[in-house]
């Protein structure tokens, strides 16, 4: 799905991170973790083809990243603050299909049917006729995911989709993503700060440690030394008798 060969990320004159060499298997659910400002959003921007690698080579779904790649769906950070009072949720999802079309064209019935289908899939059909500003954070996140999914991508990038959600909504979104992944085979890359709600579904994680991105399987990620190092504060990994795994600050 992703192949990084000695990739570095440069913004302006500063190198955000460098020496990224790793491969992420196709169809995986992968967390992107790292402290604030470590370059997680920058990583997504690069996969989207909006920022060229400062050096090295990057392949996304077998190709050099390029803007407007229909095979990638994207949910940006702070999505809720973007969408406002002036559009219905449904029309926002529709723009995911028609927003790149120039000229006077009617929305086709196939396009409408696709929007209905994806709204049902993410459980947003009931409130899709409301304006974005009239939805709760969890509902807005579902709409954002619907918009990213509507073009049938092979890879979904989500930047902090669990931020500002309560535990139940976090769990609902995680369940939704797992279903999308297993039913449609869509690879998922999501930026998160707390691994706990995801531990049961993650295949692995890209972690930004000391300015260098790495990829590891989930078992290796969930180590106290690594997490403690990553966040600069003591983290404990706890395994319950039921086999559930979670992390907490020590």
């Amino acid at each position: 799905m992703l192949e990084f060969t000695d990739v570095s990320a440069v913004r302006g004159n500063t190198t955000v991170w460098s020496e990224g060499t790793f491969t992420v298997p196709t169809g995986a659910i992968v967390g992107v973790i790292g402290p604030n400002g470590s370059g997680k959003t920058t990583l997504l921007t690069m996969i989207l083809g909006l920022l060229r690698p400062g050096s090295g080579e990057l392949k996304v779904l077998g190709e050099t990243p390029h803007r407007g790649d229909d095979r990638i769906g994207y949910v940006p950070q702070n999505y809720a603050s973007i969408a406002g009072d002036s559009i219905r949720a449904r029309d926002l999802v529709l723009l995911g299909l028609t927003g790149t079309q120039y000229g006077l064209r009617r929305t086709t019935s196939a396009q409408r049917a696709r929007v209905d289908e994806v709204l049902t899939e993410v459980g947003a059909a009931d409130f899709a006729k409301r304006r974005m500003s009239q939805l709760s954070g969890g509902q807005q996140q579902r709409i954002a995911i619907a918009q990213a999914l509507v073009g049938k991508p092979q890879l979904l990038l989500l930047d902090e989709p669990l931020a500002n959600l309560d535990i139940r909504n976090q769990q609902d979104i995680v369940t939704l993503l797992e279903r999308i992944n297993s039913e449609r085979g869509i690879g998922i890359l999501l930026v998160v700060h707390d691994l706990n709600p995801l531990l049961s579904v993650l295949d692995g994680a890209i972690y930004l440690l000391d300015g260098h991105p790495h990829y590891d399987n989930v078992d290796e990620i969930v180590s106290e030394e690594l997490l403690t190092h990553l966040y600069g504060t003591a983290i404990k990994v706890v395994r319950t008798p039921q086999g559930d795994l979670f992390t907490r600050s020590a």
Binding site: L48, G49, L50, R67, G68, I72, Y74, V75, P76, I82, A83, G84, D85, S86, I87, R88, D91, L92, L95, G96, T98, G99, T100, Q101, Y102, G103, L104, F127, K129, R130, R131, Q134, L135, S136, G137, G138, Q139, Q141, R142, Q147, A148, L165, D166, R168, N169, D172, I173
Partner: protein, 287 residues
């Protein structure tokens, strides 16, 4: 006594309305109202309310300076607002910096406008017309220009409608999808400059908000579907121009006040009315 002498009902107002200069005013007003309605939704969605206000002020020295060099007020307006639009558009994303820069230029431009006005020893009614608008002062020769602007606006909007909407509402995703967000932003600003130039002749630099933003804001109370918002804001603008002109004919006062008042009343009613689709979001609602 004085006031009553000025405000006098004219029983022949139907004749006045039918006169050629009133017809020119009505057609000009309708063209401008439609143009404003077409762009108003995008002004709100993009959060360009301040930019549109600023463009009108940037047009002010253009309008007063036009007299200085002996060209038409509209030409001066278009030149200054288009240059201003390009500058604001190129300032790009950083909203805070942009607002400060825009506001600073706005103040400077207004000062420049006052200077030009006094240098040209314009009579005060010309300056008043620029500041507050006067539909009755629009020469009939300008109708063709207005119609041309409106045609350009319609054609360009039809072509870029969806990408512009996408780029306005959801810039990061639009950008990732390959939509030229910045280019569309600059195109939008130039269209806005044309509409502002037209609207200044109707309601003036100071009342521009009433024609450019308020009708769309009122329409948005009832619907959030882009096509309908555009339709209703144009309709509100056209109705306000027609009502304003009629009242102006009845009591022989400049139409700007009545146009702006009609828009204001419609907006008040819209705000007071139940909002379409308002649903209480349950606290901690199941997402």
């Amino acid at each position: 006594m004085d006031i009553i002498a000025v405000v006098k009902f004219q029983s022949n107002w139907m004749e006045i309305l039918a006169s050629p200069f009133m017809r020119t005013a009505l057609i000009a007003g309708i063209l401008v109202a439609i143009a404003s309605g077409l762009i108003g939704y995008f002004v709100i969605v993009r959060g360009s309310m301040f930019a549109s206000h600023a463009l009108a002020h940037i047009g002010f020295p253009g309008a007063t300076g036009a007299a200085l060099v002996g060209t038409s007020v509209l030409t001066g307006l278009v030149v200054f607002t288009v240059v201003g639009a390009l500058a604001i558009g190129l300032l790009g994303k950083k909203a805070n910096d942009r607002e400060i820069a825009t506001g600073t230029v706005l103040a400077f431009a207004t000062g420049l406008g006052v200077l030009f006005a006094s240098l040209a020893s314009e009579n005060t009614s010309t300056v008043t017309n620029i500041l507050f608008g006067n539909l009755l002062a629009i020469p009939s020769s300008q109708l063709v220009v207005f119609a041309g602007f409106l045609a350009v606006l319609i054609v360009v909007l039809l072509v870029i409608f969806r990408p512009l909407l996408f780029a306005s509402i959801d810039p990061p995703v639009a950008e990732a999808k390959g939509v030229p967000v910045k280019g569309l932003g600059i195109t939008f600003m130039i269209l806005l400059a044309l509409v502002v130039s037209m609207a200044v002749t109707v309601v003036g630099v100071l009342l521009i908000f009433a024609l450019l933003v308020t009708p769309a804001a009122a329409a948005l109370r009832f619907t959030a579907r882009p096509g309908w918002v555009i339709f209703w804001s144009s309709a509100i603008g056209v109705a306000s121009v027609a009502v304003g002109l009629t009242i102006a004919a009845m009591i022989n006062l400049p139409p700007s006040f009545f146009i702006v008042s009609t828009v204001f009343v419609i907006w008040l009613v819209a705000v007071a009315t139940r909002r379409e689709g308002r649903v209480q979001v349950p606290v901690g609602g199941h997402g």
